[in-house]
Symmetry: none
Subunit: 288 residues, 2 copies
DNA sequence: ACGATTCTGAAATGTTTTTTTCAAAAGACT
DNA sequence: AGTCTTTTGAAAAAAACATTTCAGAATCGT
């Protein structure tokens, strides 16, 4: 009896149900399982029976009462709707699923799915547009931890366009950088957890100069969001003392790909030139 | 406001939500919309906020109260269930599945799954062990693109241990760094695609000095693998002219988490000291 | 660093929902 | 038909739920 769905229980006991109960049962199966999610009064009403009948049937089906049956319905629904990725068997097959690798993988998968649900494609496209606009200077700033992410974005954008300014994480020097910002410029800031006060000030100052601020932050949202024209909230949950930036990096990469797609011809040309330069510097070995 | 879904309302007003409300909003979107169907107490509990917060947010979102919001959720659910085409195969709901966001997400998920299948947990644990060993110096080197990843690893390991050397990506200076390597030391190198010749030379020289080389590379494998005691092959496929480092970053983070777990007591102490130092520096900066 | 403001949850209050009770209605059996 | 059993819903009682109030906590702004 334990693991049967409500529908299965109804079917298996249909013979034992009374007239009013069968009427109710049919109504519940009609739009299953949503029809059973209202209050007992609502359920009773849509089936044209009385609330006690509903309560009695719930008990007859083996539940403690109506709320218990409703909870079972919710659990069923959750299983039915839930994300396919949330359910996977162990990733790294030879490692137990309590191994940090698998636990971390779970977290990152979930973070990715969550983040994507939060993201507004319009925001994404708008930022893509901003970054594609060669007439705007793009300033990139990161904090203590997010510096690497800022760096990653900068390195890749460099291959796509010029007019980029990388602002070093040492905030003492920022005021000078702000002086060089023009109205219409773009400032990309990373601000995650332990939000940094200097970063907020930077965003404020930039905004005062009519610079469009784009923010990468976590699911809770840095206070900078108030000043940002566009914000990306990336989920950073991880089984660790620190947060996971993997999803933030994914988003950065997706943005880079989008910008690259947008002006593919120019990009291709630029890349060719760059490759040539790098080859001349003999930094790379031929692919074998 | 009338015809917006609850999720849309949450997104559009996310900025105006307070900390506890955001926590609740995230929890509700987590298993949307089922997670919002319990009693106000249940919803509050699963989000770790108080019932009043739930009631307040419902009003903030434009509903008369919690029951009204819940009813809206039920209506949405019904519409969603009865329309089998509107299933959840798309990630970012309002973006078509040809949107770069969704395509990139597909690629990254696939990369992660593939990578995990190929990782040998013994390798992982062995590297964890190496990084936990305070008696070995750990040298970290990255290339043109992978520099950010090396930087990320360095920044985080710094919070876990000392005896770390970050080798700048400018390869001219590397020979001096190699001079300082001792037998038993560890060298972590990142080498992905367009494998860099200097990186290979670095690994060779390190190996000659009995340094244990750990390599992060792509699915094809840098030639450095021949000299490395341990190699991680991360899949880097992406719908882009560049590769995706998201999975490599995931692996770095998982390693950091593993090292941190191993000696948690020492780590905790170290972190406390570091926080203190950072606070002091912040204060110092304020007065200058 | 210090008030002013906003936010938050415990507790109290008011409301709705659920269950129980019970009498009437329907049906079953003699 | 008459009596007994079962079923049913109205109404009351009990329980759970939702909202409001309020004081402490956190945050903000100067």
């Amino acid at each position: 009896m334990q693991d049967l769905t409500v529908a299965e229980r109804i079917h298996s006991q249909f013979e034992d149900l009374t007239r009013a109960e069968r009427q109710l049962a049919n109504a519940m199966l009609e739009n299953y399982p949503v029809s059973g999610l209202g209050s007992i009064t609502a359920v009773a009403e849509t089936s044209s029976v009385s609330p006690p009948t509903v309560a009695r049937m719930a008990k007859k089906l083996g539940f403690g009462g109506f709320p218990e049956m409703q909870k079972a319905l919710r659990v069923e629904l959750e299983a039915q709707i839930s994300n396919p990725i949330a359910k996977h068997d162990r990733w790294s097959e030879s490692a137990p699923d309590t191994h940090i690798l698998n636990r971390f993988a779970d977290a990152v998968m979930e973070n990715l799915a969550q983040t994507l649900r939060h993201i507004n494609p319009d925001t994404f496209d708008a930022v893509k547009q901003l970054l594609s606009d060669q007439d705007r200077l793009v300033h990139i700033a990161g904090g203590r931890i997010t510096r690497s992410l800022a760096d990653y974005l900068f390195t890749h954008l460099q291959m796509l366009r010029d007019g980029l300014v990388y602002m070093p994480p040492n905030s003492n020097a920022w005021s000078h950088y702000v002086l060089n910002m023009q109205p219409g410029d773009v400032l990309i800031v990373f601000d995650i957890r332990r939000y940094e006060h200097d970063m907020l000030r930077l965003a404020e100052m930039a905004r005062e100069r009519d610079v469009t601020v784009v923010l990468f932050t976590d699911q809770w949202g840095s206070p900078i969001a108030r000043h940002a024209a566009h914000s990306f909230h990336c989920r950073i949950e991880a089984p660790s003392a620190w947060d996971s930036s993997a999803v933030t990096l994914f988003l950065i990469e997706a943005l880079i790909a989008a910008v690259q797609d947008k002006n593919w011809d120019e990009t291709k040309e630029r890349m060719a030139k760059l490759e040539e330069l790098f080859d001349q510097m003999k930094m790379f070995r031929k692919f074998t």
